[in-house]
Amino acid sequence: MQAPVGTTFVGMPAFPDAARDALGDPVLRHNLAHATGTIRDKRARVVAEVDDWEDLRVDGAAVKDTALADLGTHLLALESALTARGARVHWARDAAEANAIVAGIAKGHGVDEVVKVKSMATQEIGLNEALEAEGIAAWETDLAELIVQLGEDRPSHILVPAIHRNRAEIRAIFRDRMAAAGRPAPDDLTDEPAELAAAARLHLREKFLRARMAVSGANFAVADSGTLVVVESEGNGRMCLTLPEVLVSVVGIEKVVPTWDDLGTMLRLLPRSSTGERMNPYTSTWAGVTPGDGPQEMHVVLLDNGRTRALADEVGRQALRCIRCSACLNVCPVYERTGGHAYGSVYPGPIGAILNPLLQGPGSSAWVDSLPYASSLCGACYEVCPVRIDIPSVLVDLRAQVVDAKRIVPDVSAADSGVRPRQRPAAPSPQSLAMKGAAMTFASARRLGLAERFAGVGTSLARRLPWLPGVSAWAGARDLPQAPAESFRRWWRRTDGGRR
């Protein structure tokens, strides 16, 4: 397994190819169906308890939209509130800048290791690998992240990154890999969940007590009070946020909420959507440095890395409301069957299928362009999203952007020579030819009637349904319907709508 670098995993194939491998793994299929089914049911139960859930979703979307509509103002307010409370604020345009800032702080303190709170932003920028390249070990302290890190694996879920592993696999990883990273697992370790957790606890405790620097993300950053917030279940985050002397938080710029009061709405939405709990066990909030208590040096790295690109996308910008709850993953029928690795990013599932293209830009790679198509558009994701991201609509809009990007391709050779790049049309794909054919056929009923007449009994599905090419892909496991003797329109004309 390759380690993640940046938002994408190195050399990821397009979704259909990656999905094929996952679909062929019966253990993975079983692990995923069991785990997503369990979280899905838990979420449904606790959401049903809240009478005003739908109103709450509207409020949650409004909080984030308010922040995003005037993001610059709220970020500057956040910066000044943080600075006033003794934190140092850094701005990072991309992954490389953010990684360099964190590595610089670590080197400034002469540390060769940091403990980490589970954080999507640092996964996104490949911070662990960047620190490792500088000789600094980054220890993941969230249980599932620890499993992924020790297994030299890749995360496959936003909330439960080791969702693709069962307990027997976890036991094997602990027994084989813990010793090389610190305190070894006990010799008599079984695959009982309590024993596995106890082994992780002892292994991690030694790191919490030793580390002089911690790295976190933040679930929310409150602009008016200059407060960062981390929501977690295990208490490892609380350890990292309080024990080391230096704390660096890498925070995506879309994490800002305008006021302290806004937090109430978000903290009601997140745990029920995410872990299916009424309330999460640990909510840590911190604002600046308090002498003699907790970290004495606090840094906040505000990360863009494609977010302003996403913000400029009129339809897609709603994806920046995302609070990383992963409810959309757990209800997604595609995710349930392929798992997260097939999406090739730390952001898998329906949100990953829109967020990765929005951050990187449709047309930037075959992998990015395959993601908006990794959905049957069933709409289950939109139904559960706590901040009402209309994922199906964004998927369709991104598909149009992918197609539009291919209508015209920039002439790279001209760009290199410094001449204004000329545009030349891309070579048409079989799909685009099929769609152009369908457009012509459906432009007139006469043409459609002719097409139906000439696609007689026994001819291909593609002749009958001009928009559905790829009969071999269809017929691999599905019989083709019997073509009828006459179309509906011919029947209607011949019988005067059944009256003759």
Binding site: G379, A380, A400, W474, D479, L480, R493, G497, G498
Partner: protein, 242 residues
């Protein structure tokens, strides 16, 4: 009230008996439904594949075929969803203000069959009789895009002799998804295979749904498996008088 049938391109070409069932059913309920021959396709296959320009001619022919009617009835949650939720998008893309206005006026008059029966005609007992073991799959676009809720179920419960078997995990997608079925064929088939397993668990003789597209996908899988379970469009069941 002038009522038009939008038969859908799929039913027109491959499942004409579904269109015929709608005609039989509506006539029995006193609706003299017409079939405007200028109709082609709602344009959804192109829109959902990202080909918005290519969907413009289909939306134009939809508007010219149906604009003069008081109600447009279609035996497809997916195509009704396309007309109500996507035609505006395509019209905006065309830059044609006339088309945008025509779409805005027409879209609210497009009904999925069960919406038309329950909301416009106000009936749930359509005089059908179909003495068989049946299970019902609520298709995603009828369920989530249109929100047809329990309308199909209320209609099925009034069918004489019909015994409705609960479908486990009924609200999970069948995996068709338009061009998804061929672009991501492996995932589509894996989703469909699970749906078929649940259908077979019910012991029903017939799988009923309101979208021929989903039934074509599931029926294809079930035939390949020689499952012995037939597929029927909801319109056919409601038209039946066995």
């Amino acid at each position: 009230m002038r009522v038009a049938l939008q038969v859908t391109c799929l039913n027109d070409a491959l499942f004409p008996h579904v269109g015929q069932a709608v005609v039989t059913l509506l006539r029995r309920l006193g609706v003299d439904v017409e079939f405007p021959e200028a109709q082609t396709c709602c344009g959804q296959p192109m829109v959902n594949t990202g080909y918005l320009d290519e969907a413009v001619p289909a939306v134009r022919s939809f508007v010219s075929a149906f604009s003069s009617y008081d109600a447009v009835v279609t035996p497809s949650g997916s195509c009704a969803g396309s007309a109500r939720h996507q035609h505006g998008l395509v019209a905006r893309r065309s830059g044609d203000a006339g088309l945008q206005a025509a779409v805005a006026s027409l879209s609210p008059r497009v009904y999925e069959l069960t919406e038309f029966l329950v909301d416009v005609l106000g009936v749930t007992d359509v005089g059908a009789s179909y003495p068989h073991e049946v299970t019902y799959h609520p298709t995603c676009h009828s369920l989530r895009m249109l929100g047809v809720g329990d309308r199909p179920r209320r209609l099925l419960e009034e069918v004489r002799g019909l015994r409705l078997r609960e479908l486990p995990y009924a609200d999970q997608c069948c995996g068709f998804g338009g061009t998804f079925a061929v672009k991501n064929a492996d995932t589509s088939i894996a989703m469909g295979a699970d749906k078929v397993r649940h259908v077979r668990e019910t012991g029903a003789e017939v799988l009923v749904a309101g979208d021929s597209s989903c039934l074509m996908h599931l029926g294809g899988l079930m035939e390949r498996q020689r499952s012995g379970v037939r597929t029927m469009h909801l319109a056919e069941v409601l038209a039946a008088q066995e």
